[in-house]
C-alpha cells in the first residue's frame, strides 16, 4: 500500500497542480454557471448530498449493475459459443463487430421511445456499449489456449469439457478481468447517456436538470460522483483479479 502511494505520488502532485490551476482560472473568470471552481463543485456535492446519494446514485448504479450482468452473461455465452463451434463463429463474429459501428448515442433516443422513461431503455444502451468488448476479449482469451497444451491433455484422455475447464478457463481468466475493467467505466457512461436522453431519475438525468437551471456546479457534482463510482468499481475488480489470477503473460 505504501509502495503504491509512493509510485502514484508524481501523478497526485500533478493532479493537484491542475486543480489549483483550474481553481485560479475559474476564480479569475468568475462565471460559476459556465465554469465552477473545484471547491464550488465539492460544496454543491455536499449541499445536494441527499438527493444525489439517496435517489440518483442508486438509480444509476442499478442501471449499471443490471446492464453489466446482462452484458457479462451475453458476452460470455457468445464467446464460449464462438470458441466451441466454427459455424457459430462465422455466423456471429462479423455481426458482433458490425454492431459496434452503430452510433449508440445517436439511436439511444429510439430506445426511450420503445421502452419509455423506465430503466430498460438505459439498460439497453449500457448493454450495447459493453457487450462488445467483453465478447471479443473473452473470445480472444479462450483462443489464447495453446494447441500443444490441449493436445497434451487429449493424450491423457481428457474430454472437451475437461479441456475447457482445465485449460481454456484459466487461459481466459486474465482476459476476462481486463474485459470487466474496461466494461465498468463504459457501463457507467452508457447509463449516464441513457439518463441524459430521458429518465425520471439517475445522475445523468440530474446533471441535465442542473444544466437547464444554469447551475454549473450542480452539473459537475453528479459527474464527479459518476467518475468516483466507476473508479471504485474498477478498484474492486482489480482486487478480485489479484485474488484469482496469480499468473499473467508467462508462456
Amino acid at each position: 500500500m505504501k509502495k503504491a502511494c509512493k509510485a502514484n505520488l508524481p501523478a497526485l502532485i500533478f493532479l493537484f497542480a491542475l486543480l489549483l490551476l483550474w481553481q485560479a482560472g475559474a476564480m479569475e473568470m468568475d462565471a460559476a454557471y459556465i465554469l465552477p471552481t473545484p471547491v464550488q463543485i465539492l460544496q454543491r456535492l455536499w449541499e445536494l448530498r441527499e438527493p444525489l446519494f439517496l435517489v440518483h446514485l442508486p438509480a444509476t448504479m442499478t442501471v449499471t449493475g443490471i446492464g453489466l450482468v446482462i452484458s457479462l452473461a451475453l458476452g460470455l455465452a457468445l464467446a464460449v459459443a464462438m470458441d466451441a463451434s466454427g459455424l457459430v463463429r462465422r455466423m456471429l463474429y462479423p455481426l458482433v463487430v458490425v454492431s459496434q459501428t452503430i452510433p449508440t448515442t445517436a439511436i439511444a433516443p429510439l430506445f426511450v421511445l420503445w421502452f419509455g422513461y423506465g430503466i430498460w431503455s438505459k439498460v439497453l444502451v449500457t448493454v450495447l456499449i459493453t457487450f462488445f468488448p467483453i465478447t471479443i476479449t473473452v473470445y480472444d482469451g479462450l483462443r489464447s489456449a495453446k494447441v500443444e497444451m490441449v493436445e497434451l491433455l487429449q493424450t491423457y484422455g481428457a474430454s472437451r469439457r475437461e479441456i475447457f475447464k482445465k485449460i481454456k478457463t484459466p487461459c481466459a481468466l486474465p482476459y476476462f478481468f481486463s474485459a470487466v475493467k474496461m466494461a465498468v467505466p463504459m457501463s457507467v457512461i452508457g447509463a449516464a447517456i441513457g439518463e441524459w436522453l430521458g429518465a425520471k431519475s439517475g445522475l445523468g438525468y440530474f446533471s441535465r436538470r442542473m444544466m437547464t437551471q444554469l447551475d454549473g456546479a450542480g452539473v459537475f457534482a453528479p459527474i464527479v460522483l459518476l467518475a468516483a463510482a466507476a473508479m471504485l468499481a474498477v478498484g474492486v475488480v482489480a482486487l478480485l483479479e489479484r485474488r484469482f489470477v496469480r499468473w499473467r503473460g508467462e508462456s
Binding site: K146, E148, M149, E151, L152, L153, Q154, T155, Y156, G157, A158, E162, K166, I167, P170, L173, V245, R246, W247, E250, S251
Partner: protein, 253 residues
Amino acid sequence: MSILEFDKVSYQYPSEDFDIIDALSFRVEPGSFHCILGVSGCGKSTIFRLINGLLSPKAGEIKVGGAPIAGRKRYCGYMPQKDLLFPWRTVGENVALPLEVAGGLSKAQRQERAEAALAEVGLAGCAGKLPGELSGGMRQRAAFARTMLTGSDLLLLDEPFSALDFLTRISMQEWLLEQWQRLNKTILFITHDVEEAVFLSSSVLVVEHTPIRTLTEIPIPAPFPRDRACLGRPELVELKERLITLLRKQVRP
C-alpha cells in the same frame, strides 16, 4: 510380445500429396530404450502423434501391448518438446494432471502421489511452487514426473532436452538413463542429436529418407550402465561418424 507394433502404417497430411509415413512396419520390445534419429522435418514426430492417437493412420494398424490402439485411452505417456507446465497451476497440481483426468482418486491421494513422483525426480518440496520459479532442467524433470503419472509402460519423449543448455542437457541425459534402469519402462526418444542418440539408446532407429518406409535399426555396442566416457571409445566414435554421414545426405543446405 512386442510392446509396440507398427503394421504397414501409412499417414498423409491433408496439405501434402504424398504419404509421409508409407507402409511402415517396426516393433519395439518391452524394456528397451530406442532413439528415433532423423533430420528436422523428416516425419519422426508424426510417428509419435500416430502412436499417442493425436493422428489416425490412413492405413495399417498400430498395436500397443498387443492390442490395437483405436478407441483406447491412456496406453502411453507422451512428453512433448516443451515442458508445457501450466503456469497457473503449482508444480504439484501440474504433475497430478494425468491422475486428475483419469479420475478415481481423491484430491489428497493425488497430491500424495504427485509429491512422491516429484521426490523420485529429485524435486522434493517443489510441489507448492509455481513453474515459473523452476529452472529449465527442473521443469523438464517435473514434466517427466507428470509423464510417469500417466501410469503407462510405454513412454514417448519428443526431444525433451533440445531447449536446454549443453551442460544441463548432458546431466539430464545421464539422469534419464538412471530413471530408465530404475523404472523398467520402455522409452522411445526422438532426437536429431547424434551424440544424444548414441549415448542413450540400446539401439538407434534411423530415419534414412522421407517418406518414411523403414526405420534402420543400429545397435549401440556399449553395455549399461553407461557414462559419458564411453562416447570416446573408437567403435562408438566410428558409429557416430557413420550416423552423421547417413543423416547429412538428407540435408540440403
